[in-house]
Every structure is written in C-alpha cells, then in structure tokens.
Amino acid sequence: MPAPNLRVTIAGIEMKNPLTVGSGTYGHHGNFSQFFPVETMGVLVPKTVRNYKWPGNPGPRVLETTAGLHSSVGIPCNTWEHFVAHDVPILKTLKLPIIQSVIGRTEDEYVEIVERCDSLNVFAGIELNLSCPNLKQGGLDFGYDPDSAYKLVRHVRSKTRLPVIAKLAPDYTSLLKVAKSVEAAGADAISMINAPRAMCIDHVTRKPMIGNKIGALSGAAIKPLAVYMVWEVYRAVQIPIFGMGGVTDFRDVIEFMAAGARAVGFGTINYVDPMALPRALGELTRFLEENGIADVNELVGSAHEDRPALVVPERVVA
C-alpha cells in the first residue's frame, strides 16, 4: 500500500500534515526550535502579538493541576518594532506556512495589528484570539458575544487578503452562536478551543493561588470538553476547524479529527514533552498504514452519525 496522504488544506492554506501548535506554546521559534525541525509540522502558529508593548501578569503565573496546567500569563508582548526586528527575520527563514495569532483590546486595535501583519508578506493567515480568558480586557468580550464577534471579523475581513481564523472562547452558552456569526462574517476557519477560565484556591490562605487570581486551565485535563465542543461546532458550520485542547499523542489527534477538526494543535504538552508533536506524526502515519486509511482527510468528522465506524478485528481473549 502506498504511503497514506497526510496533506490537508484549511482556509486555503496547504499543510503537509494536519499537525500544528496552539499559539503561545511555541514562542517565536526561540528555544523550542532546538528540539526538532519546525518544518516537521504542517503550519506554525507563533505566540500572539499585539500592536503595543504589554508586560503580562504578575507571578506566579503557572500552577500544576491534576493532569493539567492552571495559568495566567497574560500574553506578554514586546513592541511591534522589536517583533519586526527580531522575530520576523527568523520567521522569514522557515519553510512552512505561518499563521500569526493577534489580539487587541478594541476592534480598531485588532484591525491595526492585522494590517501590520498583512503588510509584512510573511504570513499565510491570521488567527484572531477572541477568547483569551486571562485578561480583563482583550479578546474575551468578542469571543463571548456573537454580535461583536461578527462585527470584528467582518471589519478584519475587509482589511486583509489573508485567510482569517477565529479562535473561539470555550463557552457552552455562546459557542454555537459565535461560531455561526464568525462564519457569516467571512471567517475562513475556526480555531478551538482556547483554554477555559479556571481558579485554584489555597486551602490554608483561602486565596487564589496565581498572581492574576483568575486564570485558565489547559493540558490533558480539558481534552474531553474540547473534543465535545469541536463536535458541536462541526455540525453547526461549514468552515474548517483547527481543533485543540489537551492533545497529548496521536490518539488525541485522531479523536479531534473524528470530532470534526481538519488540523490539530499541540499546546500545553509542548512544555512537558517538546517531542510530542513529531512522535505523534510518526505514530499517526503508522496508524493510517496499519488500518488501511489512504487519506488522513477521511478521519475528519468520522465520529458523526452519518459516518460508518471502522470495523475493528475481533480480539482473541486468551
């Protein structure tokens, strides 16, 4: 049997395989690049940028939870000039498509940072972070409100020729409304889920344990809720989905694709096991070969009712 096809196309961006990273978990090709060639992945999503310098939140910013990470980093960001002088020249040398994640505190700030990124002629797409749970201002309001999400995406869409990917807030109540509204506003794809809001309280001091008090939860602990949300959004919209949230290995990649994701992001696991993505790519390829699946695209949405289950050979019990 010939090698299975791993190529996927999402928002017009051709990826040689469906694997990517969640924004903020790979930096801007800094120290992480020492572990494996970045070109191993299908597309790179570097850390979110703003059009202004931002210090981020006070420490402690990270705290371990059961199979997860509670964090409130606050998307620190250097100046635009620093980004252009130090990060962009490095990104230009990489031989894979790059989707730059951006955030703003107002619609105008989003539009301005998108226009700046577009003008660099480096990026294959723009991801709008609509759902950062760490900031009092910022993406949160857009991601929870279908009307402002629609208005923002519509505005951004009119100002850039690049594919626009809306990263959604993991909110049960507004999820499908926001997904449909960003699709109607012209988003080319959806990225989900961002880390849901969370809190940890010290039982002795009875006070929140991280500097910002309110943070997010990420890592393996959130995977089932992320898979569920991808499953719901896949049924509600036609545009493709970047799925992520607690991905650890190739089985999680298949799970997200079966729920409806066309590409899958590795996030917090990058901090724990920087080699998780390349290992999963090898194991995914082997899985497709062993199960006679000629094209990875066949996995997309395969968990839904209209799709047949894979016939599993009967196991012999000794």
């Binding site: 006070p58 650890t248 917090t268 901090y271 724990v272 920087p274």
Partner: protein, 265 residues
Amino acid sequence: MLQQVNAPVVWNRPLTGDYWLIEVEAPTIAGPLAPGQFVNIRIPGLTPYLRRPFSVYRVSPDRRRLQVAYKVIGDGTRLMTSALPEGGVCDVIGPLGRGFKLPAQAKHIAVIGRGIGIAALPTLVDAAADRGIAIHALLSARTTPNLVGLDIFSERGCTVITHTDDEPSVAQVTDHLIGLDKRHPFDAFYVCGSNRLARAVHALAERRGVPAEIAMEQHMACGFGDCHGCVIDVNLDREGKETAFREVCHYGPVFDTWEVVHARA
C-alpha cells in the same frame, strides 16, 4: 544546545535527611553544564503533569553523569523515589538557564546556602576549587541531617560553618559572614535558599562593592523560556527605579542580588 534525553538511571537512593540522590548518564547535558544551571525532569505519566526543575547537584569528573539532590516534599518528588528506578531511564531536559559567574580575579568567595538552596552550590564549589579559589561555606537548615552535601564542601577544602534551626540561625549566619569578611574580605558572594539571607548578603556586598549572585526559584512549566510562566519582578537598574517581569528559567536562575532584592521589600 538544549537537549532532551532518555538518560539511564544509575543511582536513585536516600541521601540524607529528607533528601534523595538521583544520578543519570547524560553526557550531552553534563558535559557543557555550567555551575548553577538546572535540568527539568519528567516523571512518567500525566500525573504529575509538569516536569520538575532541579539545580544540578554535581557532575562526575568525566562529565558523563549528573546528580540531582531532591527533597522529598510533594507528590512529584515522592513518585520520583519509585518511578525512576536504577536501570530504567529518566527523561531530562538541560542544561537550562544561566549559571553563576566567577570573576577572573576572585581569590576568596563566600557561598551561603539555606535548606534545599544548598544543593545548588556544589557545582560552583567544584569550579571555584578547581581554580584554587578559597571558599567559605555558610550552610543552614532546619535540622542537621538536612544539611545536604557537607561531605562535598569539606572534600573541596571549604571552610564550612553550619547552623540549624535549634539555634537562632539567621542572625548568626549574617554575623559570621560580616566577621569573616572583615578579617579576610570576600571577592564575591553567592546565596541560595533564603530571601532574608539574600537581603543581608546584598547589603554587605553593596557596602563592599563586590558582586553578589543569587539562585532564584519560581513555579515553572517548560523551563526553557517558551511559556513565560516563571517570571519574577526584576530591577532594571540598581536603584530599582524601573522593574520588569523576567523568566527565572531563561534570565536566571542566577541573578545579581541587586536585580532581585527590592528596596521596598
């Protein structure tokens, strides 16, 4: 160059007091490791989820193996005593961070460690002793068995002064340090494991106009500068007029004391 290796575990046994010692074969990490740098160790499975950062306790003379002295203090370190058996492998990332700087002209230094902070000092003591630098080690802990590494400090010719908490230790360590410095002035100070001692050492070093460094701790996730999780508030100038968040794993763990001792603290 950063390495992630599955290092064979050659030793993992109780050391002294609450401490265990793990030794792994990791030449690509142990070889280039500088004093004060650290490693990030993964405990197999998804709970605990994050790696555990440790200062390197010692590197073997052939620089093929490294040791970590770890205090069994929580779920992660308790699991390390059983989940990383001798004969198995240990997933280690390193060498990480920026270590101690020994001034070229240094002839006489003071290393001041408290509790687990003592375990960050032997690599520095080895480097200094190899250069013929005279070393005073002022070490304190809760109990005598928790004075980790006394044998190393003695073996490397340090003059060792110890305190435990059944004595009023902080005042005595500071008094000792000031007295010693008057008789034989130190060319540099190194401190780890106590903010109170750090402030005292910093004040003395500032008066004397000599460098003082401190190895810092903070909750970490990745350990290699990508997650921006382990920040502390750092002075950008000696007067502390301007401060900024800096990642301990990337800009540290070793800082000049003036960077981290805040006037208002």
